[in-house]
């Protein structure tokens, strides 16, 4: 049996007639960084809120650490949460905000809290109140608070929202470090596919509350890499012809489009070889899709995704 840390089964959230999350089924393996990509209002936050125990699913169920939703109550302290903007007490220092979380968890280890603050780069802020922090500092403190309970699973909702480029790099490096050094499984949402593509190992595209596609990092690179895309009149025979030409790196999608990832300069030769075998080439193009174009092609819309 696979070691799934999180599994959702047709999880759904409705607010009256509005379906915010629509029958989403996701499986998250231990050690993964799962990126949820979607436009604003796609249902990312609602999905994460349900998993974080902040909202109740209208339908469906989920399992965390292999336990059903009802039994996860006692395992919930193994989850770290940063939903939307970081929840900080504005007049308190970073350490005091950390202490609040620690007290609730029954911890009394200031050295560990100090270590966490150092890890997120806030070791030197002293008694400065959180209200005077920059957005990046607040996000990092939010992550530190989420880490206070030694979580195995971290749910991060748009942690790079509102950050400057330097801040984005810092948060990205922090997330990668937490995943590698502490083996924390991370589910992270963003509407910036470009950024998620640099850290996530697997992706789910959420659109109008539905999970419309899921793929690994390797698949993403492939889908966005340069390729010949052709539509032959007889795809089955065309595949045989392509293989006889010695082409191995190809993929058939939707049963009628063949994507070829090698010999990109030989498109003329491929068309000729197909013609020799009485296969018409209805359409052929060399494509190199940017991440944003790829996302838009999936959702079929223009939008705020960068």
């Amino acid at each position: 049996m696979e070691d799934y840390i999180l599994e959702t089964e047709n999880i759904t959230k409705k607010y009256g007639a509005i379906v915010a999350v629509d029958h989403v089924s996701i499986r998250l393996k231990r050690g993964e960084i799962y990126g949820i990509i979607g436009r604003n209002g796609a249902g990312k936050t609602t999905l994460l809120k349900m998993l974080a125990g902040l909202a109740r699913p209208t339908e469906g169920s989920f399992r965390i650490f292999g336990e059903s939703e009802k039994k996860t109550a006692k395992l919930r302290d193994r989850i770290g949460v940063l939903i939307e903007s970081p929840g900080l007490i504005p007049n308190m220092s970073a350490m005091e905000n950390m202490r609040i979380q620690a007290l609730m968890l029954g911890m009394n280890d200031d050295a560990f809290l100090k270590e966490l603050l150092n890890d997120v780069g806030l070791g030197e802020v002293g008694k400065m109140p959180a209200k005077r922090f920059s957005m990046g500092m607040k996000q990092r403190l939010g992550i530190a608070i989420a880490l206070a309970g030694h979580p195995d699973l971290l749910l991060l909702d748009e942690p790079i929202n509102g950050l400057d480029p330097q801040g984005i790099v810092e948060i990205r490096e922090l997330i990668e470090r937490l995943n590698k050094e502490r083996n924390i499984t991370i589910m992270i949402s963003s509407h910036i596919l470009e950024e998620l593509s640099k850290i996530a190992t697997r992706y789910g595209i959420l659109h109008h509350g539905q999970l419309i596609d899921e793929f690994t990092h390797k698949e993403l690179l492939r889908r966005c890499s340069e390729r010949i895309e052709l539509r032959p009149s007889d795809p089955t025979r065309a595949v045989t012809v392509i293989e006889t030409m010695g082409i191995r790196d190809y993929k058939v999608i939707d049963n009628n489009i063949i994507q070829i990832f090698e010999r990109l300069d030989d498109s003329g030769e491929i068309v000729l070889e197909l013609a020799k075998n009485n296969i018409k080439t209805l359409n052929i193009a060399v494509k190199n899709e940017a991440l944003e174009d790829y996302y838009l092609s999936l959702t079929g819309e223009g939008g705020t995704v960068r």
């Binding site: 809120k49 909202a55 302290d77 940063l82 939307e84 929840g87 900080l88 007290l103 609730m104 968890l105």
Partner: protein, 266 residues
């Protein structure tokens, strides 16, 4: 639960609003003493014919200070502001999102927050009362402490009333999920605006229900607590008073816990 209370008390002692209210209640204690002294000395004959019970009084006892301090609508306003600010702070800052999801029973957060609020309220009342009591003892020539048992009895009964009020204010804040909503609802109670509605209800009841012993305002917390004659009340009246306070407390805190348990965190 103990950890949650510790967390809340830590937050309370570091909140600016708590210390502002400590100053406010101490000032209120002084103000109450000043008013008392003015009424007792009456140097400008301001209260002639006003029917105030303290005019012409030779002595003032510790029990009198309890009713002067605790049966004052201003004290209710201070208590309501404290409860509302404290109860709503986690939601306002968004800190509740860090903690509510990771606990087994969400209602425990509500209960712990209310218990902590009551601890804070108790400290505030003690500070304010102590200031007034100390000033009376020091500067009123006619002041006698009187029976300590009587003071404790009066203070205890009024404290039960205050706890019931804290539940009511806490419930409004949980229900409206905002300081503004909580404060407005609490002020309606504290300022006696609700009394008008209760009076209307009494009149309507008299018109339609023939039983003269059934008076709705006798079951309204603000009316009962603020007009309770704790010094002279008999056992039956006291038991009725305590029972009513308990009913309100169970309903308001139970309701708040249920809301927290069932409602999504925004």
């Amino acid at each position: 639960m103990f950890n949650l209370i510790k967390m809340n008390l830590y937050r309370m002692t570091r909140a600016v609003s708590t210390w502002v209210l400590v100053i406010v209640i101490a000032a209120f204690g002084m103000l109450q003493f000043g008013t008392l002294k003015l009424m007792m000395d009456d140097p400008f004959n301001m209260f002639d014919g006003a029917g105030t019970s303290l005019i012409g009084t030779e002595t003032m006892t510790g029990t009198d200070t309890v009713s002067t301090f605790l049966q004052n609508s201003n004290i209710l306003i201070i208590v309501s502001i404290f409860i509302v600010i404290f109860a709503n702070a986690e939601q306002k800052s968004g800190f509740d999102k860090n903690i509510i999801g990771i606990t087994k029973h969400r209602w425990k957060h509500t209960l712990a927050r209310w218990i902590s609020a009551v601890i804070g309220m108790t400290a505030l009342l003690i500070i304010g009362y102590f200031v007034m009591f100390a000033l009376c003892a020091l500067f009123l020539n006619s002041f006698t402490i009187g029976s300590v048992t009587a003071i404790l009895r009066s203070a205890g009964l009024m404290y039960i009333g205050m706890i019931a009020f804290s539940g009511l204010f806490f419930f409004f804040t949980t229900l409206f999920k905002s300081s503004a909503g909580g404060i407005v609802a609490s002020l309606i109670v504290s300022l006696g605006i609700l009394n008008l509605i209760e009076m209307l209800l009494d009149l309507l009841t008299k018109k339609f229900i023939s039983n003269p012993r059934f008076v709705p305002s006798d079951f309204c917390l603000d009316n009962v607590v603020m007009s309770f004659k704790h010094a002279s009340a008999g056992t039956k009246t006291i038991l009725g008073f305590v029972a009513l306070c308990l009913v309100y407390l169970v309903l308001t805190i139970g309701g708040s816990m249920l809301l927290q348990q069932r409602r999504d965190v925004k």
